[in-house]
Symmetry: C2
Subunit: 97 residues, 2 copies
């Protein structure tokens, strides 16, 4: 399986509503992209200093299934309309497990 | 549950042996830290440009259990002896799921 991870930091002026919309709309992708096998998102719990603000972990059966998610127009719309307007930085890895 | 994620980039002079030792020794922590409920690590698959090099995803029943892992001397030894010598950058999130 392929595990896709992305961590974001948000701009200082990102509102709670904007942050919540990212989580809600990403979760909604499970209903339209059946290749998603497992999907968790969440705000950093505030345990440690210096963390990123938000995480996405999505599991797929194969690289091809991950690419369906990556390039899906509904996913690209969330990136363009919800993530990019409040994005400060991004770190990502995809790995086999 | 609490999911702990950390993504690393390695220095340019990190050897394959040094990178492999990080994965092997982190995986070995499962044998000595029973609070770990699930644990996956892996090298970036090379699908996308600009990614970090290596990922750790560890799941715990509670924040307290995560803290046992975070502060465990065997974990701290892997960080000091295996990770820090080849560490270029680090991004982390802990979130409830």
């Amino acid at each position: 399986m392929i595990r896709h991870i992305v961590l974001f930091t948000w701009t200082d002026d990102a509102t709670d509503e904007q942050r919540a919309a990212v989580a809600t709309e990403l979760r909604g992708l499970q209903a339209v992209i059946p290749q998603i096998r497992a999907f968790t998102v969440g705000d950093d719990a505030g345990i440690n200093q210096g963390n990123h603000d938000f995480a996405v972990v999505a599991d797929f059966d194969s690289v091809d299934d991950y690419l369906v998610y990556r390039d899906h127009p509904d996913h690209q719309a969330v990136i363009a309309e919800r993530i990019k307007p409040i994005l400060a930085s991004r770190a990502a890895v995809q790995f086999s497990f």
